[in-house]
């Protein structure tokens, strides 16, 4: 922590930064998902009830059984709900107004969260089709998808 400094009100305050450079082991299922991103492929996993979950999970959400059959989905998908951010925060994936959206990729039974670069809120609607905009040089993490963008008809 930095030194305490006196504010105009006479109260002592100090800046404190909490920073963790986490490196996470991803295991075989998430590892396959992130490896797929480096090849611009989107992979899900088939749950016991037949649904394909994207991002994938290691265990069946209902039975808890181990699952791992990887299925390719997308790359296009449908927006199931969205929220328009007029003033992005510094940590947000885009630095201009954008939408957060839950996107159900073609062939998937669950939706994934990401940003949609649509220009304006008027261009957004539930049910619209979107596709990923890929990073030029994928590295194997979620940022390999820069964002989603409206699919042109």
């Amino acid at each position: 922590m930095n030194r305490m400094a006196e504010t105009a009100s006479g109260r002592l305050t100090a800046a404190h930064v909490l920073e963790y450079p986490y490196r996470r082991s991803v295991g075989p299922v998430m590892g396959a998902f992130f490896t797929g991103l480096t090849e611009r492929r989107l992979l899900g996993v088939r749950a016991r009830d037949g649904r394909v979950l994207v991002p994938p999970v290691e265990y069946d959400p209902e039975s808890g059984e181990s699952i791992g059959e990887m299925i390719e989905v997308g790359p296009g998908g449908v927006v199931t709900t969205w929220a328009w951010v007029e003033k992005p925060r510094a940590k947000h994936p885009l630095d201009r107004p954008f939408a957060w959206a839950l996107v159900r990729l073609d062939g998937a039974g669950s939706a994934m969260l990401h940003a949609v670069d649509a220009g304006s809120a008027a261009a957004m609607r539930t049910g619209m089709r979107v596709r990923p905009r890929w990073k030029a040089e994928p590295e194997g993490n979620i940022h390999d998808i820069v964002c989603f963008e409206p699919e042109r008809a």
Binding site: T13, A15, V17, G140
Partner: protein, 161 residues
């Protein structure tokens, strides 16, 4: 590209801390070269630095008490492991110092003293920063050094180990 086995997901959060009443009083005292504590109204123990509460009785400590920079080493260790966050290069001596009139020893550096001369019960005093450099920080006390007094008897600090 080869198979991905791990990812880096850094987290950074920024905070602005406020000191709280008791700590603020203590730190402003430091800027004046004074050591301020608080006394528990129930058990009469004096806490330096104060936290606004008696951790044993769970009541507010409202009476302010000033103590001097003289005290006793209750326990100590010699640090030999280098680290980027240390303000002094190792090896150096760290000690718990119980100030006269206080009931809570605190962590402090011991300097101007050979490693093999440091001992439990050794009498020490605070060495302050030059007046112009005093600030609202515990670092206004640069370190503690031995003083020419007989060692404190074990009975006087055995409850504070």
């Amino acid at each position: 590209m080869s198979e991905i086995t791990n990812i880096v997901t850094p987290i950074r959060l920024d905070y602005t801390y406020t000191a709280g009443h008791a700590t603020q009083r203590f730190l402003l005292g430091m800027a004046e070269g004074r050591i301020l504590g608080q006394r528990c109204p129930e058990c009469a123990k004096v806490y330096v630095p104060p936290r606004g509460a008696c951790p044993k009785c769970g009541v507010p400590t409202t009476d302010e008490v000033e103590v001097t920079g003289k005290g006793t080493v209750t326990t100590f260790c010699i640090v030999r492991i280098p680290s980027d966050v240390l303000s002094v290069p190792p090896p150096f001596t760290c000690a718990h110092v119980l100030l006269d009139g206080a009931d809570l020893p605190f962590f402090a550096l011991i300097q101007e003293c050979d490693f093999d001369a440091v001992r439990m019960g050794m009498r020490v005093e605070a060495v302050w920063a030059p007046k112009a450099e005093l600030a609202a920080t515990f670092e206004s006390i640069r370190y503690f050094r031995p003083i020419d007094e007989p060692d404190a008897p074990y009975e006087t600090y055995k409850e504070h180990l």
